[in-house]
Subunit: 88 residues, 2 copies
């Protein structure tokens, strides 16, 4: 079975994995400290809107890395928004 | 002079503008409150690395929205990292 990823996709997959997992430390920090006072709710709301568009952009240009990264990011961002509202 | 942007580029440009400007409220919040305790430094460092890769990805797939959005995001992220280190 021949499985080929060209350089573009490889860089996109790695970039997506890093920017998506970058959200995890922030989610963990809020969860551990139960404090999100310094975290900007506006940032995460705008990010949710923008990343939803990036997701559709990925679908339009048929680039898996863009689609996957933004889908997972969206889930993490909603988690952070939920905790920001809950812990303030 | 004929100027044409196809739907893909338009959505990418809008998505890029939103996710890039999403960083501004966080930068302003830290600057105003001089406090970044709840903000995760790890998140922004990983984001800087990932977004640098997204920038190269944009160059490789020759998509202006991806290139521009990530270049401006990088500048804002370095600003936030600087303030996080300075104000703690």
């Amino acid at each position: 079975m021949e499985f080929s990823i060209d350089l573009n996709n490889l860089i996109g997959i790695i970039a997506g994995a890093i920017t998506t997992s970058a959200l995890i430390p922030q989610a963990l920090k809020i969860y551990k400290t139960k404090s999100a006072r310094d975290v900007s709710l506006a940032m995460f709301i705008f990010m949710a809107i923008g990343i939803t568009l990036w997701f559709f952009y990925g679908v339009l240009i048929k680039e898996i890395p863009v689609i996957l990264a933004n889908l997972i990011s969206l889930i993490l961002i909603f988690l952070i928004i939920f905790m920001k509202i809950r812990y303030g």
